[in-house]
């Protein structure tokens, strides 16, 4: 069991309990929480756990800030979408699209990494921001290929669609293609998550942490800092692209708003920071919390805005469209006051 988790346990009883609850809830989501909306939320959590964890590989372990993570996510998603559009529905299309998206993401990450990281790490943040915005604009302008702002709607294999029903009922729930699709997403997400946990707890991961703490010293010991940083960038991009492919398979729709937008980038940042930078477990916790908050808290904000309609400024501040405002405030506060995130806090408590 511990070997499966690569030797890095949660190291806190409360954290372990929370993670077990999350894991079990996701594993049995279709049966525990019937209903379309709950299943959508569960799938979203699975995919964003992978996405946030892959970002943590870069931000938390290597200490590099990237603003292009949604770009890699989008490359994976558009890969599947384009392959499914042009090759027709089928598992081959999904496979080809996933691989093409993965290859494109890793290649692009390699180029960006070589350009910016060999000079100074701070270039990377600025260059990724510029490149990612160019790609976003490009995706919405080249409407002949990408469907522009409307995005692409395509068909996935019948076996994964809601129309397919098995003559099988488990715990009062009829097994449909949608549920099979969910378990595909869940299984791959889990595998990717465990793989990342393995990577960060390998000697390679240790070197990344050493570079984060003191790159000069790591170089002096004899590690090629640039090479490690670029490798981490490529790995992280690759995992993000795979998450994007899963997202495309689940949604059966890909557009700039659902994959490339800056808001998603902020979501990822917040997931990693709130959960705890520098632990893959933190990414899982942060992603779960954020997705749940997004799905259910925004309704609460709408209620609050309605209730305070008489007060002019307050109701505007509580408008669901101002969701980002509160995210921003939360983000700043957590960078200041909880730099180690929830996981760091819980571990510190357990260690005392």
């Amino acid at each position: 069991m511990i070997r499966l988790f690569s030797g890095e346990g949660p190291r806190s009883t409360i954290l372990a309990l929370i993670l077990i609850v999350i894991g079990l809830a996701l594993a049995f989501a279709p049966f525990l929480f019937p209903g379309v909306r709950a299943l959508e939320t569960a799938a979203r959590i699975c995919i964003f756990v992978v996405l946030a964890a892959s970002y943590d590989l870069l931000l938390g372990y290597t200490g590099i800030v990237s603003f292009a993570h949604t770009m890699f996510f989008g490359l994976g998603a558009y890969g599947v979408a384009l392959a499914s559009t042009h090759m027709g529905r089928g598992f081959t299309a999904l496979g080809v699209g996933t691989l093409a998206g993965l290859a494109a993401a890793v290649a692009l990450a390699l180029v960006i990494g070589l350009f910016s990281l060999r000079v100074r790490a701070i270039f990377f943040a600025m260059i990724t921001l510029a490149v990612a915005s160019a790609v976003t604009v490009l995706a919405s302008q080249l409407s002949a290929v990408t469907g522009g702002e409307d995005g692409l709607v395509y068909q996935i294999p019948r076996a994964l669609g809601p129309a397919m029903r098995l003559d099988l009922e488990i715990a009062g729930v009829t097994i449909t293609g949608k549920i099979l699709n969910y378990y595909l997403v869940f299984a791959i997400s889990l595998a990717l998550f465990l793989l990342m946990l393995r990577i960060v707890n390998s000697p390679f991961g240790r070197v990344l942490q050493a570079i984060r703490e003191n790159d000069f010293r790591a170089e002096a010991i004899g590690y090629r800092v640039v090479r490690y940083r670029v490798t981490a960038t490529c790995l992280s991009a690759g995992f993000a692209a795979l998450a994007g492919s899963l997202w495309a398979i689940w949604l059966r729709y890909v557009g700039p708003g659902t994959t490339l937008s800056f808001e998603i980038m902020l979501d990822i940042l917040l997931m990693v920071v709130i959960g705890g930078m520098g632990t893959i477990w933190g990414a899982a916790l942060g992603a779960t919390l954020m997705v749940l908050a997004q799905s259910y808290l925004q309704n609460l904000m709408a209620l609050a805005a309605g209730a305070t309609e008489a007060l002019p400024i307050l109701s505007r501040l509580l408008d669901p469209d101002r969701w980002l405002l509160w995210l921003g405030v939360l983000f700043i506060l957590s960078v200041y006051f909880f730099p180690t995130g929830i996981v760091g806090r819980l571990r510190a408590r357990a260690a005392r």
């Binding site: 800030v65 701070i122 600025m126 510029a130 921003g328 700043i332």
Partner: protein
């Protein structure tokens, strides 16, 4: 050399003359501009079109330079990279345009003096507000995270989001359309080409600012301290100067310039959105990177290159205009990985 103190060696130090190649390498960034302009002329072919495009490219470049100059100095001085700089651009634009809207009588009148007066009032209001905002931003957000790049980037991005959303709260969620003051509308005929009057004004304002900034940096004591601080901050502090105060001053000055740039850009585009600062930040970063972090001259050349290239490419191959800046950045970084005129070395 006229006074020789006792004991000093009685010889003049001689400097080896730079070889032609070194000279060329030193001035190559400055030569890029005319080269780009000439290549543009050759490809575009007709003189009036080229002149129109060049002036609008220069106008755009000047405005980007106004926004970028503060950012690059702040980085050079304190190694602080402010991702929230774009928020000042948006705030400046919204404050300035609100003032202009309030002075409708002045902007509507066909009198150059009243029009300029209204624009000046808008600019002053915008610069005052963004300056104050910059001061608060530095104090609340940036100061606690000196020396930690990672947290700096995260915190300033958070600041950008919050300020941008506050603009939505104050001015509403919609974009605001505006019209330029009466006398700044229309075109001026110049050397056989029709050029928008406002663009000429933008070029003049940008040039004046650049010259003024250079004079302050090269000829005044405060400029000397700033330049010395960029090169070696610790040494300047060891000499007894409070670099932190200088830095706060530079930060505020940079914020006011971003506000000015916001007003200019808003008048240029004739529409303002809360997200405009964020969009401009992309160009500003490209400019700061290709110019060399910390270099005002580099940012100036970079901004003009970006402006010119964007306008030429938009005319020659509209599809490529979006990626032209990324292409430019790639090319320059392949040639000089630290930017054209890097100032801050090995920090």
């Amino acid at each position: 050399m006229s006074v020789q103190s006792e004991g000093a060696p009685a010889h003049r130090p001689t400097f080896a003359a730079l070889s032609a190649r070194d000279k060329l390498a030193k001035s190559a960034p400055f030569l890029l501009l005319p080269v780009l302009a000439l290549v543009g002329l050759a490809l575009i072919g007709t003189w009036p079109t080229w002149l129109t495009l060049t002036v609008s490219g220069l106008a755009m470049g000047m405005m980007i330079f106004v926004m970028a100059s503060g950012l690059t100095l702040v980085f050079g001085l304190m190694d602080v990279i402010n991702f929230g700089h774009g928020a000042f651009i948006s705030v400046g634009a919204f404050v300035g345009i609100s003032v202009l809207a309030g002075l409708g009588d002045w902007t509507g009148a066909a009198s150059l003096a009243l029009n300029i007066g209204a624009v000046l009032a808008a600019v002053i209001a915008a610069m005052a507000v963004t300056g104050a905002l910059g001061w608060g931003f530095e104090r609340v957000l940036v100061r606690p995270v000196y020396g930690a790049h990672l947290r700096q980037i995260l915190v300033t991005v958070g600041g950008l989001i919050v300020i941008e959303q506050m603009i939505h709260v104050v001015w509403g969620p919609d974009e605001i359309f505006l019209t330029r003051p009466e006398m700044l509308k229309g075109v001026t005929l110049f050397a056989g080409a029709a050029i928008e009057t406002y663009r000429l004004l933008a070029v003049v304002v940008g040039l004046v600012l650049f010259v003024a900034m250079r004079l302050v940096l090269r000829r005044t004591k405060i400029g000397l301290i700033v330049r010395a601080g960029v090169q070696n901050g610790e040494m300047v502090e060891a000499l007894g100067y409070q670099l932190r105060l200088v830095f706060v001053g530079t930060f505020v000055a940079g914020s006011t310039l971003a506000g000015l740039g916001g007003v200019m850009w808003g008048l240029y585009q004739e529409v303002i959105t809360a997200g405009m600062g964020e969009e401009m930040m992309i160009l500003v970063f490209v400019v700061v990177i290709i110019g060399g972090l910390g270099s005002v001259e580099g940012a100036f050349i970079g901004a003009l290159l970006v402006g010119l290239l964007q306008n030429y490419v938009a005319f020659l191959a509209p599809k490529l205009a979006l990626v032209s800046n990324i292409g430019l950045m790639t090319a320059i970084l392949m040639w000089r990985p630290e930017g054209m005129l890097p100032v801050v070395r090995a920090k």
